[in-house]
């Protein structure tokens, strides 16, 4: 096969894998009626995006961006995505916890955590 083609595939494969991961999460969110599963799906989706950032920050042959962990000629990976993702992870957990609180309340109010049952209880209008 064409070497350029394979170069492209290898160069981009990590991104593709990350995208597949995100899409699995997206699919779960959209199709699973169970609210907890939806939240898990959302987490997977978010983790996928986080992974995307980390992937783009990776430099070949680089090490963790901490001084002193190597000699003078060390190549460091890009620290900026790491910084951003630390924030993103925390935002993610905040969202998750709020979502879980809502699930608890929903369970109290409806006695179920299945979306389609809630829908039925409200006469399909929700």
């Amino acid at each position: 096969m064409n070497p350029v083609f394979w170069q492209t595939v290898w160069g981009l494969l990590p991104y593709w894998l990350v995208i597949v991961l995100m899409m699995i999460g997206l699919h779960v969110v959209m199709t699973k009626p169970n609210l907890i599963k939806k939240i898990i799906g959302l987490n997977v989706f978010q983790t996928g995006v986080i992974m995307f950032y980390i992937t783009l920050g990776k430099v070949d042959g680089g090490t963790a961006p901490i001084f002193g962990s190597g000699g003078d000629e060390v190549v460091y990976s890009n620290p900026v995505p790491h910084v951003l993702m630390l924030t993103a992870i925390v935002v993610g957990i905040a969202t998750t916890s709020l979502a879980l609180a809502l699930v608890v309340r929903l369970h109290e109010a409806y006695g179920t955590i299945e979306e389609d049952q809630i829908r039925r209880l409200e006469g399909d209008e929700v």
Binding site: L35, L42, F45, A88, T95, L106, Y110
Partner: protein, 508 residues
């Protein structure tokens, strides 16, 4: 001496604007007393209105205002950047927040138990923080962080609605909203990947040189999807009707006027100041996507609104349609069109929050907002209902109301861009607005009130805010130049596109 002091203070304004409500929220929690918390929240909100007005003045007179957080120069540090457009949006957000908040003691007790009020005010302030932060941020990742602040607090606010269906609506909103936020994050990631910077000005400068249309197009799509969800552009905005219907009317008034507006601003900023007209529209042809979406939103929103039997839901669907108008302004991408979109941002904020406050008054007195509930209310709550009629006329776009000003510019913009059909469609969808507004008016004035219903006029604490907003639609309909001038300057700013020059961080 004193002049430099003032100048120094002015340069601090962007930070004060965001940080003040952020720091006040915990104090609200500590206060625990409903009244005290409200007073504090009110003070801070009025303060930020003042701040934003000062900034708008400054920006109009002297140009952009930049604040470097922590003293680190962009692009390394985070910059707050105030220009004409976002100063205008800041005024909208803080202004409407003040008015809506002032109505809170009047309408809230019916829907939220008294001992939770202090938390409500804290959440309200946080939501405002998020929105103000999003608007003034000069850094795209920062936009995401503040978007999440505002989103999380608005999920909470929606969930406070009196019916249990508010919980469902809030959960839906949460799922969809988080997806939106994550898409935005993804888009930002791609942009960072292609340019290596996060600062908005810097992105604009560097993006022009970037090759790789495919990635840019997808990045733009991600950003648009992310913001459109929050902006409630059809079909990504279908969370909105339920959220607005089941949230407390007070919250609907607040969110309708602010959350969508800020997202609109973010979208406009990405489209025009980061990508720029030549890149987004001429090279990537994004208007081919945006224009049909806007038109569909206008018609679907209005059509569905016609068949609603609940007033809150009716207004919510009408919001979907109005968002269509605003986005149409973006898609037209010329001076008049953008002016129309931006001025509609302001006008719609006024009328929608006013109308939702009217419903808050109805909820307070009747406990429900279905069409059959408001029958004959014109005689029993004359002032409140008159406000509804004026607000409705403004939605239709009758001259001398604010809605007319926006429609004037939008139609003009459509004609200028050589799309008379679009102009006709804008007006055609106004006709749908006539229908849904008039359905309500007929119920209010031409149906007898149910036997034995005794309803008093809304309390002054609600009437005054309502008429502040609705009166505003009339005032800004008559003195339309005031807002249109600002909007036109903002439109010019957008059309100038991203700044040209050396990248802030030097060439790599």
């Amino acid at each position: 001496m004193s002049a430099s002091w003032v100048a120094h203070l002015e340069s601090q304004l962007p930070a004060i604007q965001v940080v003040a409500p952020m720091l006040t929220a915990p104090v609200c929690v500590l206060l625990r007393r409903s009244r005290a918390a409200w007073m504090l929240a009110m003070t801070v909100t009025l303060g930020s209105l003042l701040t934003s007005l000062l900034m708008l003045r400054h920006v109009l007179l002297h140009g952009a205002l930049s604040y470097q957080m922590g003293g680190w120069a962009p692009p390394w540090g985070i910059e707050l950047r105030i220009e004409v457009l976002n100063a205008f949006v800041l005024v909208i957000v803080s202004g409407i927040s003040s008015v809506v908040l002032s109505a809170a003691p009047g309408s809230l007790p019916k829907e939220v138990p008294e001992e939770r009020h202090y938390l409500f005010y804290a959440a309200f302030l946080l939501c405002m923080t998020g929105l103000l932060g999003m608007t003034s941020a000069g850094d795209v990742f920062n936009v995401f962080v503040f978007l999440e602040i505002s989103s999380l607090s608005s999920y909470t606010l929606v969930a406070l609605g009196p019916s249990r269906r508010a919980l469902v609506a809030a959960f839906r909103y949460l799922i969809v909203g988080t997806m939106g936020g994550t898409f935005l994050l993804l888009g930002i990631g791609m942009l960072y990947m292609m340019t290596g910077t996060l600062n908005i000005v810097d992105l604009g400068i560097r993006l022009v040189e970037v090759q790789g249309d495919r990635t840019l197009l997808v990045a733009l799509a991600c950003v648009v999807v992310g913001t459109s969800i929050k902006l409630a552009l059809f079909p990504l905005g279908l969370w909105l009707p339920n959220a607005y219907t089941f949230a407390p009317a007070e919250v609907s008034a607040f969110l309708a006027a602010t959350a969508t507006k800020v997202s609109y601003y973010v979208l406009a900023r990405f489209l025009f100041l980061i990508f720029g007209v030549s890149l987004a529209f001429d090279r990537l042809h994004f208007d081919h996507v945006l224009l049909p979406m806007a038109l569909v939103a206008m018609f679907v929103g209005s059509l569905v609104a016609i068949f609603q039997t609940d007033l809150k839901r009716l207004l919510a669907y009408s919001s979907l349609a109005q968002v269509g108008y605003m986005v149409l302004g973006l898609a037209l991408a010329n001076r008049s069109g953008l002016t129309g979109g931006i001025v509609h941002l302001f006008n719609h904020a006024l009328m929608k929050s006013g109308l939702f406050l009217v419903l808050a008054a109805v909820v307070l007195r009747l406990g429900a907002t279905r069409l059959q509930d408001v029958r004959g209310l014109g005689r029993q709550m004359p002032w409140t209902m008159a406000a509804f009629v004026v607000g409705g006329l403004s939605l239709i776009g009758v001259p001398l109301t604010a809605g007319f000003v926006s429609k004037w510019y939008l139609v003009q913009g459509a004609l200028e861009s050589g799309r008379p059909l679009v102009a006709a469609l804008i007006l055609g969808s106004s006709l749908l607005a006539v229908v849904y507004v008039w359905r309500v008016v007929e119920e209010i004035y031409f149906q007898p009130a149910p036997e034995g219903r005794q309803v008093a006029e809304a309390p002054l604490g609600l009437l005054v805010p309502i008429w502040l907003l609705i009166g505003g639609t009339v005032v800004f309909g008559i003195f339309g130049s005031a807002t249109a001038d600002v909007a036109r300057q903002a439109a010019d700013l957008l059309l100038q596109g991203p700044p040209v020059g050396p990248a802030l961080g030097g060439s790599p």
